[in-house]
Amino acid sequence: MRTIPDGFILPSFGGTAVKAAEPGTEPATSGGGYTGPRKLVLVCSKGNLDMAYPGLILANAAAGEGIEVHMFFTFWGLDMVNKKTMGNLQFTMVGNTAMHMHDLGGIKPGLEHWSMPQWMGRIPFMTKIATNMMNKQIADLGVPTVPEFLDLLEAAGVKMWACRMSFDMMKMIEADLHPAVQGVISATDFMELSENAQTMFI
């Protein structure tokens, strides 16, 4: 390890590559006074396509920052890691008042901000159409599909867990789970897992 000369500005890479602490500065602490390495736990509870991505993207970003990441899949979130459903998550307009279509702005300026009426979401096949549109938009951004994303997260070292109660309730078997899921764990196990972690419920 090479020494860093005075006045040299080195980006913070964490771990062994941190800048020498300035005299008198305390180590960064979170609210609880915890000073260990940063850890993130994401509780993924939804099986809708649009609600699968926030957890996947945050997990990927955190893993790339050297943060220990765990994802806990519970209730409908299990669909994200169930091999029979993960490639076929759906997006529905129903119940979503923030449903706008950017392309409508080309017809009449301002229409791109128009909240589409709820009854439109109940037109037959509308969920399928909306899902296809969202999948296309996601792919256009170079963002992987859910199954590919799970492979990427596995390679990045993200740990994944399934919720025992939901798993039993949905009559799943271990063979249904994406291989990145390391185990089916209880709420008590989750408490141990999330000790000293920043936890997000999605």
Binding site: P5, I9, A17, A155
Partner: protein
């Protein structure tokens, strides 16, 4: 804009310390910087990733993310985490003399 000097090399950096001008980078400088961020030796595998990053940034104008390294460069993400432990994308962009990646995925 601040600048860093080490062993006769001088390069301008942003407030965080990342390169602002890719032309001020050189291979011997990358070797020196690697030693400063805990990578003792740049092997051919390290160089393959760094060179891809520079080439891709030259053509796209944007520093590639890990996902782009995987899809466009056929790099194994797991391997990149081994080669550049902790924050692979940031470490690679630093050693390649580029800004840090800004993409979400």
């Amino acid at each position: 804009m601040p600048s860093n000097t080490i062993e006769g090399y001088t390069f301008t950096v942003n407030d965080e310390g990342f390169f602002t001008n890719r032309e001020e980078w050189s291979e011997p400088l990358a070797e020196i910087l690697a030693g400063m961020i805990g990578i003792d030796e740049l092997t051919p595998a390290h160089w393959a990733a760094l060179k891809f990053m520079r080439e891709d940034q030259a053509s796209s104008g944007v520093t590639p993310t890990l996902r782009r390294m995987q899809t466009q460069g056929n790099f194994d993400v797991k391997q990149l985490f081994v080669l550049f432990p902790g924050k692979p994308a940031k470490k690679m962009s630093y050693l390649a003399g580029l800004p840090k990646p800004v993409g979400c995925v």
